[in-house]
Assembly symmetry: C2
Homo-oligomer: 219 residues x 2
Amino acid sequence: MDATGYQGGVWLRPARGRRDAPLTVDRIVVAAVALLDAEGPARLTMRRLAERLDVAPPTLYWHVKTKDDVLDLAVDAIFAEVRVPDGGEWADAVRALVLAWRATMLRHPWSPPLLGRPTLGPNVLRRTEFLQATLAGAGFRGVDLAAATHGLANFAIGSALTQSTWRNAAVRDAANAHVRANADAYPTLAANDHLDDPDWDALFSQGLDRFLTGLAGSL
Amino acid sequence: MDATGYQGGVWLRPARGRRDAPLTVDRIVVAAVALLDAEGPARLTMRRLAERLDVAPPTLYWHVKTKDDVLDLAVDAIFAEVRVPDGGEWADAVRALVLAWRATMLRHPWSPPLLGRPTLGPNVLRRTEFLQATLAGAGFRGVDLAAATHGLANFAIGSALTQSTWRNAAVRDAANAHVRANADAYPTLAANDHLDDPDWDALFSQGLDRFLTGLAGSL
DNA sequence: CCACCCTCTCGAACGTTGGTCGAGAACCCG
DNA sequence: CGGGTTCTCGACCAACGTTCGAGAGGGTGG
């Protein structure tokens, strides 16, 4: 007998064991990305993920070692969206890659903070390889090559990280109200509407151009 | 009677109520920063924090609303370390501020990922105000001003975020081994020792100079 | 056709976490 | 000395990541 209520007996209990569509790591990662996109990182729990896959929570642990593994896989998965340019002038190729890279992060705003963990997935590495190879083809060597590669990546990551925060209108409004209320302490920020819904894409594009110009000049 | 063991009775039980050194938000934040520095963000729990302050866990919640509040306060607290330059050429002042900003983040490697949440503390705002005011004084206006301010901040944040990951020797060695093992897929990365303990400070400094040069040229 | 093994799934449970509630101790003021 | 405010804590809660061992299902060799 069951003290917690009638469960339906053998007749209504769902079948155990194998399913028609077997669970795979890929299906887990796809579901995780969907969940992160829809509800944000705080709501991604192994239980909710299992629920979404119509599976009991412990089942996930046969395919995946820890929750962190799921996060790492999810981060790499989204970078498959970044189109790798082919051919063209080196500056144009770099520009296109960095813009696409940033756009993908903004499409999945939970991703930038996760770049604080090592990212060694095939999608990330392939695009990093392309970036460095393109710069090397343009003539960069040694420290200059490393500085250019890291600089471009860091610029995009930093931009995506801050923008994904301030893009939220409620957050932005509260911030602007606070700055304006303390206009005596922050006169320049208040006068220039520092955060007042700027055209983030244009700002990034402009900054990227400056960076690329600086790089080209140092060749 | 107590089934879990003798607790000491009234005689040995520690005194309740007020303490000599009363708990304050400041003391909580200082302890949180110390804990984060010493053991990393994963080990920062309200219980450990309370233990470090010699206080019962629920007590913290009278001074602070949530754990996220503690994190936000901790982030702002460390930026008090960033010295605000006074006087001098605008480019030198900006350079000094951005370098100090990045150095502080690297001294507290748990901080860059937390910048994914709104940062509106007085220390952060004051330094952002200084940066923007200095650039405005140099002649930047409108979109150019916004692009310069955000670009510099984003560059520093991105650099700190990625570097705080790859600075760990074990992580870096594993990453390099993996890249070299797949040298056919990542020939350029493998050939250039992409992550092989470069001089991160020099790389950042060089990138910052390029950026500042580009900015100066656009005035 | 059966016995076996490997692959995959899950019920039950553990220890820990962030957070709430209400009782009460200590202090301040009248 | 009495009453209200400020501060502290014991007991407790739901939810989390994760483990363990029991099994169900299909494939293979005898």
